[in-house]
């Protein structure tokens, strides 16, 4: 393992992380809920009564974030790592996996670990481990 110093962005990543934490904290304090994106989206597909409005508002806020960000700074570049067939397969895995496992990087990774949930610790260990294995296979063994 070598550290990729040219790619590492300690300050902006830490600052962004603090903002994500602030959002999760506000949602808990004001709305009494866990800011888990897969949960917000999953509930949007099968809304409980009185549940639709805030879910739409949450997603609308996220979709407006690039506009807000672009007001004071140019948007960072995104470089994709997968072609369309891979993106479709990955999307299905993420969609099914997060519903089956009751959460993703935000619900388990951020909120779950922050509240000391053992379920979330196990979930985070699992998705980190399989993500690591997939990247290892794809990057280092796949083309060999």
């Amino acid at each position: 393992m070598t550290l990729d110093w040219t790619a590492f962005t300690p300050w902006s990543s830490l600052a962004g992380g603090l903002l994500i934490g602030l959002a999760a904290a506000l949602f808990l304090v004001l709305n009494g809920r866990i800011a888990g994106i897969s949960g917000v989206l999953g509930g949007l597909l099968r809304p409980a009564p009185g549940d639709l409005a805030w879910r739409i508002a949450f997603v609308a806020g996220m979709l407006m974030a690039p506009l807000a960000y672009a007001l004071w700074s140019p948007l960072p570049l995104t470089q994709n790592v997968a072609g369309y067939p891979m993106l479709i397969a990955a999307g299905l895995l993420v969609g099914i996996g997060t519903r089956y496992g009751s959460g993703c990087t935000s619900g388990h990774g951020v909120c779950g670990l922050a509240r000391g949930s053992r379920r979330s610790l196990l979930a985070t260990a699992c998705f980190m481990a399989s993500g690591f294995v997939v990247v290892l296979l794809a990057r280092h063994l796949g083309s060999g």
Binding site: T2, M64, G91, G95, I96, R139
Partner: protein, 130 residues
């Protein structure tokens, strides 16, 4: 009010994801690539977010209602079961393949990334068939 605060939370969350660099799949995969050239950025994003969120969860302990009046809805389950393990393993595999998880993919879609549109469409189908 519940919707207004949810909108604000979504906005702050999304801006945080952009600032942190997590809407860029290359940075996410760079974190998962421990054996190659490792980019630790994602660790700082999670650590920073968790630290701030932990303060709020401390505050929430023992409370039954949130500030805007809704009941606190914190998951109560403590079961470590196969669903949790296999669901999370599947999620991690998709995450590693595309470098997208649900939040960053949504935000990247709004920046006009066609790849993110394809990913999110497929993810919503996955969520719907589940």
């Amino acid at each position: 009010m519940q919707s207004l605060s949810a909108w604000l939370v979504g906005l702050i969350f999304g801006v945080g994801l952009i600032l942190s660099g997590m809407t860029n799949p290359t940075k996410v995969v760079g974190f998962l690539d421990f054996t190659g050239a490792w980019d630790p950025s994602l660790g700082l994003v999670m650590g920073g977010a968790m630290t701030v969120a932990a303060i709020a969860f401390r505050w929430a302990r023992g409370r039954t209602r949130a500030v805007l009046g809704a009941p606190m809805q914190i998951p109560q389950s403590r079961v470590l079961d196969k669903r949790l393990v296999f669901g999370s393993l599947a999620f991690g595999a998709g995450w590693g393949l595309a470098g997208f998880c649900p939040g960053p993919a949504l935000v990247a879609m709004a920046t006009g990334s066609v790849a993110a549109v394809v990913f999110v469409t497929s993810m919503l189908i996955g969520m719907a068939v589940f």
